[in-house]
Amino acid sequence: MAMNYNAKDEVDGGPPCAPGGTAKTRRPDNTAFKQQRLPAWQPILTAGTVLPIFFIIGLIFIPIGIGIFVTSNNIREIENPSKECEPYRRNEDKPIAPCGAIANSMFNDTLELFLIGNDSYPVPIALKKKGIAWWTDKNVKFRNPPGGDNLEERFKGTTKPVNWLKPVYMLDSDPDNNGFINEDFIVWMRTAALPTFRKLYRLIERKSDLHPTLPAGRYSLNITYNYPVHYFDGRKRMILSTISWMGGKNPFLGIAYIAVGSISFLLGVVLLVINHKYRNSSNTADITI
């Protein structure tokens, strides 16, 4: 934008101060603030300032968009198909732990992935259960109730949510991933923004750079079906995805960036043409005050 610091050095043109003390006290101070003469930058939308912005946006956004789009396309995906407790606060006169509708509806299918090797013995792929939840959720937000070593003791007097198969203290054998700090539970409790959502289920770690994480071959997916979706026409998918600097596959952002960038570039061209064509009419030279 056009920079123009307008430091007015003009002195007040008012009448000279009358002699006498009273006159001085009632006379307003001659400060730039009170006289509304503060130095100021007065930007104006001129062709010189605005048009480059359009081109810059175009030139920056389109590459970003292409970058995102390419990155996103390189991400390989393999497809296969609550603070409120009410009304799930109590069941059979015992408090539910964890309470609430969100917890009650927790996803509880189990998925297992096997590589079917040449020797036809399916080799299970190691799926990491821990590290799928946010650090703050695991370490700050969700805490197990205080008490002794035995988790079952600590949850004594509570009952499991209605739809759950197992009580909360039996979610995992690892004591660091059990109870309220079970990461599957934590991930589920971080509610999605939109009705269609994806959540991280497990991590497949690359063991070494020499070996591919998932070597080419036949795989079988073993699903323990606990979570019914047919009665609300729901669909479940399992996605195997790589990740990149921008996270998972997301074609929208790339396309949107390319679109906005192109529009901006185009507008720049159009405005340039308009500006050239009509510059005479908006010439400032004819203004006389």
Binding site: G14, L45, T136, N163, P195, G247, F252, L253, Y257
Partner: protein, 1129 residues
């Protein structure tokens, strides 16, 4: 109204429970403040609305937001307004007390006791001394002056500083030596208070528009609520039904329709932020800021009286930028009420300075030494004359010059007096005469004293006593006054002064050459806006006079047709006059009046002069300050005596006007219907050519009757200038009301006296001229300053800026809140219409009052499009305000659409991105809370970029506020999402760790950047196209200003005012009839030496009539202070 009062009997009078004499202008006292103020505040649509919302939020079933989101801003708003009202009222109390506690002397228990004016009761007898304030309506019982006369100054009532005579009833006049007066009407019943009308709560048109818009928005809100509620019902029955395993119905919530009903209310609560409560507070704060700028403006500070401009009302500032009509008082407002003898023409020769040009004239004044007067000891020191030729002519003994000055010294109604220091003091009843007599005095013809029979003057050092034989008094039809005197040599002379048109007809044919010469001179004087009088004399022969005098006495004694006969006799003797010359007196305009008037007319503001003065005086001033010019196509004078006549004259004038107009514009009368007005017949015609309308008080009274007023208004609005003379304070207010009501125009009234109070109060904006004696106008006004010329700066700079800033502020504010709130609406379609908020509750609470309030306030207070100097130099810049272009319903819709677009971008770009998103480490980031944080951050950045685009004057304050707000947003965000605060209030801050997680993801920032660009880009395109293809005047001047930066703009070019020089004649004296009789009767003279017996007889014979006459003739003036009421004692 009949009142029964027993003088000096308080017990008896108490029975009638007359009002006390306390003046109340304040609204509250300590006890009533809270209830009344709260009541007033909740009368505001918005406040009441928020109260309802608050109540809704307390119902758990529909509470979708916690209570603090509404109550925190509401309490803030109410408190701030209450504090402001309380301070305002405190100052009103203070000024009331000042008036109420003035001391008076009241006769209580047959003793004179000091009593505060507020404790004076109806029927009290009060002793007043010279130069005391009077704070009640009084009946004069007796005075120390002979014949129970007393002189009162009514500056506080009408702004006129000349003295008015009041006389006691003859029955009571003998009672006492001191001035005793009976309190008649008290407190609220005084003429002043009755005239002043009620204090109305003034609102600006923006205020009214805002209220309408708030109602519209409320309707819009209900529509959105209904849509979402229907959506909810459908969702619950179609989709929600399938989820009953997870989401079963609450108790008592068994149907989808009922669920929809509850959702409706929940959404009303959520979406209420489209009308943020902070809107009203911000508007008040901005106005307060603008008011301070007015108070602080050194260019409106009058150093001579140490008076700064003062914004007494802080709620009307932007209306100052929309004024279409100015109603101005004359005396004390346009003029200084000082008359000075400027020039004269004696026997065909002009004396006095020769002004070629305004500037040159002042140069002469500075360079030239004023004339040394002959008799310095007796000269009036304030009088200055710069032409030495006149003095020389006097010294040379030019008989014509001597005679001329003699007329000035003899033919007048001035009374002389000597003060304690032995100086000669003139008691003048019209300042014009004072100017003439003072001029004669300084040139050596000193009026020393008079008796009913004689006038003594000192002619160049020698005392000469003239016998006063007859006094031919002034009246409105005669427009002249003459005296017949016998000089010591025994010659009888008639000296006459009067309006040139009248007097020229009375001249002897031999004067023809001189007449044409003098006539030219008079034109020249008139061209300078001076008040002119012709001076003539006639030598009478003894016999002729005796016969004439006999006839006059007969006529005086006659009972029938007395006045007519006397008038005939006056006619008879005032003929065959010899012209001596002419005088030119300047009714001194206030400084800069002409420039101000010219500049304001260029700004398309129509100026109407409403004055209590005579027609001639008013017209004269009209010419003097360029409101009336000779270039005008026509000047209509309406002077009918009844409704039919007035209507006839109005219609004729109108026909005349449109006829001429048709000729000028070849039959094309362009009709421009601005709005469907209430009065169907009123169509604003754009008239080519300038016209002026002059109407006097009598005609105005008829013209204001219901069936004539449309004619009046129509005609008046087609004229460039309107002058109403001899109008009462009430009529002033009626005229203002008329224009206000049927023109839908914003009006401003400016005046200095108490007679302007009602006008000041009824206009949208009232301006008082301060620094003068009368305070009433200032107390009733919304703005006050010391000089009329400051009006230009008040309107063109402060008013324009205020309007400009306020409009920008409102546009932005509505935009911002639509963008902020409507996101909830879009989200409704993806959350099962469950009234879930998109943002964190804290964000909703703080968005309007913390994150985005300061930048827009800074813009609303400090923004400037063009500099003050350019605003003044280019009055056309004022027009957008008058046409209401910067903020109106159309603009509002544009703002709303802009807001809707932004909310769409804000919601759907993150939606698209989050639809299928995973974090950099594969973790889940498309959760609700991250979505909320992303959108909130985008929103804050988008509205900040938008305010940056809107701000056209970036002071350091704007920088601090804009960057500061963004910084504050992020610091608060990270604080509220920190582990620490979660540890303390785990339930209030469930967003723990969110900011840290989301805002470290690159793709979140990519979303924010994209959202920002997509929201702002179209705005930049539109603004750019508008500025470049259809630039407004303001845009052009901004560019020009920028181009001028390098080379400082040349000093301001003031509009040159060109004086026309046609001849207007008029006995333009603020003169009252009847003083002649007063003088010849000797009633107003102290009996120093007993008058001769014949005089006594004469006095006796006259004594009844002159009082009656005076009464009769002064009713004009009296009635101008309100309907005079009869009093029964």
């Amino acid at each position: 109204m009949e009142r029964i009062v027993k003088a000096n009997d308080r017990e008896y009078n108490e029975k009638f429970q007359y009002a006390d004499n306390r003046i109340h202008t304040s609204k509250y006292n300590i006890l009533t403040f809270l209830p009344i103020n709260l009541f007033e505040q909740f009368q505001r649509v918005a406040n009441a609305y928020f109260l309802c919302l608050l109540i809704l939020q307390l119902i758990p079933e529909i509470s979708s937001l916690t209570w603090f989101t509404t109550i925190v801003p509401l309490v803030l708003v109410i408190t701030m307004t209450a504090v402001k009202d309380a301070t305002d009222d405190y100052f009103r109390h203070k000024s009331d007390n000042q008036v109420n506690n003035r001391q008076s002397e009241v006769l209580i228990d047959s003793k004179l006791q000091n009593e505060k004016w507020m404790n004076v009761k109806v029927g009290d007898i009060i002793k007043l001394e010279n130069n005391q304030f009077v704070a009640a309506d009084l009946l004069l019982l007796s005075s120390s002056e002979p014949h129970g006369l007393c002189y009162v100054e009514t500056a506080e009532l009408d702004g006129e500083t000349n003295l008015k005579v009041r006389h006691a009833l003859s029955v009571t006049s003998e009672l006492g030596a001191d001035i005793n007066r009976l309190a008649r009407f008290d407190g609220p019943d005084t003429k002043l208070m009755q005239n002043s009308g009620k204090t109305k709560f003034k609102r600006t048109s923006i205020d009214r528009l805002m209220n309408t818009l708030v109602l519209w928005i409320f309707g819009f809100l209900i529509c959105l609520g209904i849509i979402l509620a229907i959506g909810n019902s459908i969702w619950e029955s179609q989709i929600g039904d399938q989820f009953r395993t997870f989401l079963f119905w609450n108790e008592g919530e068994k149907s989808s329709v009922f669920s929809g009903f509850l959702t409706f209310w929940s959404y009303i609560i959520i979406l209420n932020t489209v009308v943020p409560i902070s809107l009203y507070v911000s508007v008040e704060v901005i106005r307060l800021g603008h008011s301070y700028f007015i108070n602080w403006d050194r260019k409106m500070y009058y150093s001579r009286k140490a008076t700064p401009a003062e914004a007494r009302t802080t709620t009307l500032n932007e209306e100052l930028g929309q004024i279409e009509y100015i109603f101005s008082d004359k005396t004390g407002t346009l003029t200084q009420n000082i008359m000075t003898f400027k020039r004269c023409s004696i026997n065909g020769r002009i004396y006095g300075e020769v002004p070629d040009d305004l500037d040159q004239k002042t140069e002469i004044t500075q360079e030239k030494e004023p004339v040394d007067f002959l008799v310095k000891s007796q000269a009036d020191r304030e009088f200055q004359f710069f032409d030495h030729n006149l003095m020389e002519s006097i010294k040379m003994g030019d008989p014509k010059v001597h005679e001329f000055l003699r007329v000035l010294a003899l033919c007048h109604t001035v009374m002389s007096e000597e003060n304690s220091a032995g100086e000669l003091i003139y008691q003048v009843q019209s300042p014009d005469e004072g100017a003439l007599v003072t001029a004669a005095r300084n040139f050596g013809f000193i009026f020393k004293s008079r008796t009913p029979e004689t006038i003594t003057i000192e002619e160049l050092g020698t005392l000469v006593t003239y016998q006063l034989l007859a006094f031919l008094d002034f009246n409105n039809t005669r427009k002249r006054m003459s005296v017949i005197v016998r000089n010591p040599e025994g010659q009888i002379k008639l000296y006459s002064k009067g309006a040139d048109t009248i007097l020229f007809e009375k001249l002897h044919p031999s004067n023809e050459v001189l007449l044409s010469l003098t006539s030219d001179h008079l034109s020249e004087f008139a061209g300078e806006g001076l008040r002119t009088l012709a001076i003539a004399h006639r030598d009478l022969d003894d016999k002729y006079f005796k016969e004439w005098h006999k006839m006059l006495e007969d006529a005086n004694a006659a009972t029938e047709e007395r006045d007519e006969r006397i008038a005939g006799l006056y006619e008879e003797i005032e003929r065959d006059l010899t012209l001596l010359g002419a005088t030119a007196v300047e009714d001194k305009l206030q400084e800069g009046v002409i420039e101000t008037v010219t500049s304001l007319s260029l700004a398309n503001i129509k100026i109407w002069v409403l004055t209590g003065d005579k027609q001639e005086t008013a017209i004269n001033i009209g010419y003097a300050c360029n409101m009336l010019t000779d270039d005008m196509n026509d000047v209509f004078v309406i002077a009918g005596n009844n409704a039919v006549e007035v209507r006839e004259e109005l219609r004729k004038a109108k026909e005349n006007l449109s006829g001429q107009n048709r000729n000028v514009s070849n039959g094309h009368v362009v009709c421009e219907k601005k709005q469907q007005l209430e009065l169907d017949s009123i169509v604003e015609e754009t008239v080519t050519g300038d016209y002026a309308l002059i109407i006097n008080g009598h005609s105005l009274a008829h013209a204001l009757e219901s069936d004539v007023k449309s004619d009046l208004l129509e005609l008046a609005c087609m004229c460039k200038t309107v002058v109403c003379c001899r109008v009462t304070p009430l009529q002033k207010a009626q005229v203002v009301e008329l224009v206000k009501k049927y023109r839908n125009a914003v009006t401003l009234a400016i005046g200095d006296g108490a007679n302007d109070v009602s006008m000041i109060k009824s206009a949208h904006i009232g301006v008082g001229i301060s620094g003068q004696e009368g305070l009433q106008a200032v107390l009733a006004s919304d703005y006050s300053f010391a000089q009329f010329r400051y009006l230009q700066r008040l309107l063109l700079v402060h008013g324009r800026w205020s309007y400009f800033r306020m409009c920008k502020f409102l546009c932005y504010f509505f935009y911002k809140n639509f963008a902020f709130t409507l996101v909830h609406f879009w989200f409704g379609f993806f959350c099962g219409f469950s009234a879930q908020t998109v943002y964190d509750q804290w964000f909703i609470t703080l968005f309007n009052i913390v994150y985005t309030s300061l930048p827009v306030l800074a813009m609303g207070i400090f923004d400037q499009d063009v500099s003050d100097q350019n605003s003044m130099d280019c009055p056309q810049l004022y027009e957008p305000g008058q046409l209401n272009l910067l903020f109106n319903k159309r603009k509002f819709f544009i703002c709303v659409l802009h807001g809707i677009y932004t909310s769409l971008a804000l919601f759907f770009i993150p939606y698209g991105a989050f639809y299928n998103m995973a974090g950099e480490d594969g973790q889940h980031i498309a959760d609700y809370q991250s979505f909320a944080v992303t959108m909130a951050t985008s929103l804050v950045i988008v509205v900040s970029v938008q305010i940056a685009l809107d701000t056209s004057y970036w002071t350091f304050i704007n920088h601090v506020f804009i960057w500061g707000s963004i910084a504050i947003y992020f610091s608060i965000l990270f604080t509220m999402h920190s582990n620490g605060i979660f540890g303390i209030f785990p339930n209030q801050f469930p967003f723990v760790g969110n900011a840290r997680h989301s805002l470290t993801q690159k793709c979140i920032w990519l979303v924010i950047l994209l959202t920002t660009v997509a929201s702002v880009l179209p705005v930049v395109v539109f603004r750019f196209l508008k500025v470049n293809l259809y630039p407004t005047l303001s845009d052009q001047i901004r560019r020009w200003q920028k181009a001028q930066k390098k080379a400082r703009p040349p000093s301001s070019r003031r509009p040159r005012t060109r004086r026309s020089s046609s001849r207007r004649s008029g006995y333009a004296f603020a003169h009252q009839e009847g003083y002649g009789e007063l003088i010849t009767s000797g009633k107003n003279m102290r009996a120093k030496n007993p008058p001769p017996t014949s005089g006594l007889e004469k006095t006796h014979y006259n004594s009844t009539s002159w009082i009656e006459n005076l009464c009769k003739k002064t009713t004009d003036t009296v009635s101008s202070f309100g309907q005079d009421k009869t009093v029964k004692l």
